[in-house]
């Protein structure tokens, strides 16, 4: 049904304002972030709705354009390499914020702290005693066969036992209104710069909007990240920390420069670093300078051509031996990818129970492992209803969305699953919640998810999550894919105080 009777506190709303919402769809089977089932706005959104209704569509359009221009001028873009020209594009941005109440946020915050702590205990266990595998709580072949399992990490002491300093977990909101975890990104998660840039741009184009909401600040992320990195070395604040980027052609390069800038650390490429007598140095105009911590934004297999990918020119030859000797700290540690394998994901609730003796605060999405015969049979039977995912892929690639798939696509996946069952999992097709977006002069509802950024410090209480995260939007009507590579956009995310 469409919202045909938008109701606000004082009920004095012009016709033209209401027509803004004339295409806004509500559907009882999908949680709407702004409206309750009866068309009344949820409490955290009341003020926003009021503000929207007071503005004209033309004014919203102007501010949207101003926001786009700001992104473009600041170079907050990614590069599209075309045949005869390269184009810079901004990530699509929606100007209506996504709002989360303090109570909702507290659950998310506690749930993620619990989850990431358990995952780190798991990583430590797997690369040392392997108790959880011996006891059969997690099948050992699932771990050992994982592409991201790094044998060489067995027995390697990781600074403070912190394997994942930086995590981005993807949450979705179920029809019940509950948040659940869809996946954890434990290797080199990206997106945090867009969270911060969205807020900056929002403050600029909507200065008036922020008054009186009590929005929790997020601007301290850079400092918090720097502090977490400093705790990884005994040198603390005197440590030399660098951010290692694959270089200017990487699609996340903007983020790398952004983070280096807010932390005031050097942004280095592999060729800027070298190993001598087991220590890491960077080449500066004043000579070589010792490096203590590397926040690396390149994947495991590229960090050291001597050890991993021999053709990699991105990494530093000999880095792994310096790492193994404890002379350099890498964040995140090597080998964390086993825990964000989509099949291993299914066992995270078990990890929480096993290591912490607690029930998970945030639920997982029900997951079928294709390597198990009975579950595979069910998946193959129901390809048209399920979402199938390749376990090692991200960014919305290697995915089959059953209800929207063609017979040909399903047959392709059927063959792939049968050939390599370990590589696939399936989940029910989720009804992601929908939030209001301003598109082509109308306020319409689109599916969203939420990626909060977790800075893990070794214990749950040393973990920092800046309130909010990156809300990603599937801008195409009806689409469930929020990835920027596939027509997704983002919006500012507000966590409110005291509602």
């Amino acid at each position: 049904m469409a919202v045909n009777s938008v109701t606000t506190k004082d009920d004095t709303v012009s016709e033209s304002a209401i027509s803004l919402f004339s295409n806004y769809a509500l559907d009882g089977t999908i949680f709407d972030e702004m409206f309750q089932g009866n068309g009344r706005p949820r409490l955290p959104y009341q003020k926003l709705l009021q503000s929207i209704l007071e503005l004209q569509a033309s004014e919203l359009t102007q501010r949207q354009q101003a926001a786009d221009l700001t992104f473009l001028n600041r170079g907050i873009t990614f590069t599209v390499y075309g045949e005869d020209s390269t184009i810079e594009r901004i990530f699509p941005y929606d100007i209506l914020p996504r709002i989360i109440s303090e109570t909702e946020w507290q659950t998310i915050d506690r749930g993620l702290c619990q989850r990431i702590h358990a995952i780190n205990l798991f990583l430590r266990d797997v690369y040392h005693e392997g108790r959880i595998l011996q006891e059969g709580k997690v099948p050992f072949d699932l771990i050992y066969s994982c592409r991201n399992y790094q044998r060489e990490m067995r027995g390697v002491k990781v600074s403070n036992d912190v394997y994942t300093s930086i995590v981005g977990s993807d949450l979705v909101r179920l029809p019940s209104g509950e948040f659940a975890v869809l996946e954890d990104n434990l290797r080199v998660p990206s997106g945090v710069s867009y969270m911060l840039a969205n807020r900056e741009v929002m403050t600029q184009v909507f200065p008036g909007m922020f008054g009186g909401y009590g929005i929790k600040p997020i601007g301290h992320y850079g400092q918090a990240l720097l502090q977490q990195l400093q705790t990884l070395t005994p040198k603390g604040r005197d440590a030399t920390i660098v951010l290692l980027t694959p270089g200017i052609f990487n699609s996340a390069y903007f983020e790398h420069t952004f983070l280096a800038r807010v932390m005031g650390i050097e942004l280095v490429e592999g060729a800027d670093l070298l190993i001598h007598d087991g220590f890491v140095y960077m080449r500066t105009t004043s000579g070589l300078q010792r490096v203590d911590v590397i926040y690396r934004r390149i994947d495991d297999e590229f960090v050291d051509p001597l050890h991993f990918h021999p053709d990699s020119v991105l990494g530093v030859p000999g880095l792994f031996n310096a790492y193994r000797a404890g002379n350099i700290t890498l964040a995140n540690a090597i080998g964390t990818g086993i825990a964000d394998d989509k099949a291993v994901y299914a066992f995270v609730p078990e990890m929480i129970r096993y290591y912490l003796g607690e029930e998970p605060i945030l639920q997982n999405i029900e997951t079928y492992l294709c390597l198990r015969d009975d579950e595979r049979a069910y998946v193959l039977e129901n390809l048209d209803k399920l979402v199938v995912k390749a376990v090692g892929e991200s960014g919305g690639y290697g995915m089959l969305i059953g209800p929207y798939s063609t017979a040909k696509e399903r047959e392709d996946f059927r063959a792939q699953i049968q050939a390599e069952p370990r590589n696939f999992i399936a989940q029910p097709t989720l009804s992601l919640s929908r939030a209001p977006c301003f598109i082509n002069g109308n306020v319409v509802s689109r599916h969203v998810d939420l990626r909060p950024f977790i800075l893990y410090g070794g214990e749950q209480e040393n973990t920092v999550i800046v309130p909010g995260g990156l809300t990603r939007v599937a801008l195409r009507e009806g689409s469930l894919v929020v990835n920027s590579s596939q027509g997704g956009g983002s919006k500012d995310t507000w966590v409110l105080q005291d509602i």
Binding site: L72, N73, R74, G75, E88, I248, Y253, T257, F258, A260, R261, E266, L267, V268, E269, A271, D272, L274, H276, M282, R283, T284, T285, S286, G287, L288
Partner: protein, 325 residues
């Protein structure tokens, strides 16, 4: 500072200066063409112009420069991104370098450069480019100048800034030398005594192309004579476009860099710069005439190349063994 960042800073300085020079030459040439299009001097003007920008000579048609083709070349020199010496090429490269040191630049400076880049690209397919080119070049020129101003006012004057300045001044010496070189070549001047026999109108063009005509008029008789123009552009201590002025700056900036980095490897580099500085400081136009103007200029450019190489050996890409031994 990271060696690679210093390298990028240096090239930001060079490419921005290069784009400024190209824009100015384009503007001067195009304006000149409007008034004098049909005259014989036009041919030589085009030839000098392309030569000064290190471009291939213009296409000839019926014994004279093909005006249409020359205009097209000028358009390419503005917008062809594949040509490092074109305005677009230089600005693209400056921006690429700026991206890689984005964390060391101020937001104002970065955003200004980024806007300049976007503006340039939006002009590329502009239909009425020829009609509006004067205002276009003026806009670009002031935009590039503003970059220098913003660098001055918004950056920390530490190593990074010093390297931008060094790059800028070095490029400027090379530009003025190339311009004079092209001038002499087209007049067939090798011996110094021929300096006195030249066409005054081209002197004005040369001075304009260096933004120095007005300054010249305050120092000399406003009817430019080639030997005075040469002396002015090479040896004047106060003209911000002269070789000597810029070499003074370079030598001074290099000393500051050596201090800031506390490096012991800068000896060679500072010696080369110091020698060039002294050479220009104590040379007079008679020395230029005696050495031959083209040889004199070639010497300066050789020294600039040595400074460039020594920068790499000292700061950007030094041998690791020197550091550990």
């Amino acid at each position: 500072m990271l060696s690679r960042s210093a390298d990028s800073m240096y090239w930001i300085g060079r490419y921005m200066e290069r784009s400024e020079n190209t824009i100015r030459l384009l503007r001067v040439r195009m304006n000149f063409m409007v008034g004098k299009a049909a005259e014989a001097g036009n041919d030589r003007g085009w030839q000098q112009f392309f030569s000064a920008l290190r471009q291939p000579p213009p296409v000839m048609k019926n014994g004279v420069v093909d005006g249409e083709a020359a205009l097209q070349m000028a358009h390419n020199l503005t917008f062809n991104a594949d040509n490092d010496n074109s305005v677009t090429g230089s600005i693209n490269l400056a921006r690429t370098n700026a991206r890689s040191v984005r964390s060391q630049l101020s937001s104002q400076l970065w955003e200004h450069l980024n806007r300049l880049y976007l503006r340039l690209h939006s002009w590329r397919d502009h239909q009425n480019w020829h009609q509006e080119r004067d205002s276009f070049f003026r806009e670009l020129e002031s935009s590039v100048s503003l970059f220098q101003g913003l660098a001055l006012s918004s950056l920390l004057h530490d190593e990074g800034w010093l390297f931008i300045q060094i790059g800028g001044h070095l490029e400027r010496v090379i530009s003025v030398c190339s311009l004079l070189e092209a001038h002499f070549r087209h007049f067939g001047i090798d011996g110094g005594d021929e300096l006195e026999t030249l066409d005054p109108l081209n002197g004005i063009g040369v001075l304009r192309a260096c933004n120095s005509f007005e300054s010249y008029c305050r120092v000399y008789d406003p009817r430019p004579e080639t030997q005075f123009v040469t002396s002015f552009l090479l040896l004047n201590a106060y003209l911000p476009n002269s070789a000597r002025f810029n070499v003074n700056q370079i030598a001074d900036l290099l000393k500051q860099v050596a201090g800031a980095t506390e490096t012991r490897r800068a000896g060679d580099l500072n010696r080369i710069a110091g020698k060039l500085q002294a050479h220009l400081q104590y040379s007079q136009i008679d020395d230029v005439i005696e050495a031959g103007p083209r040889a004199f200029i070639t010497d300066i450019m050789d020294s600039c190349n040595q400074i460039h190489d020594a920068l790499y050996e000292t700061y950007f890409n030094y041998e690791i063994e020197d550091v550990f031994s």
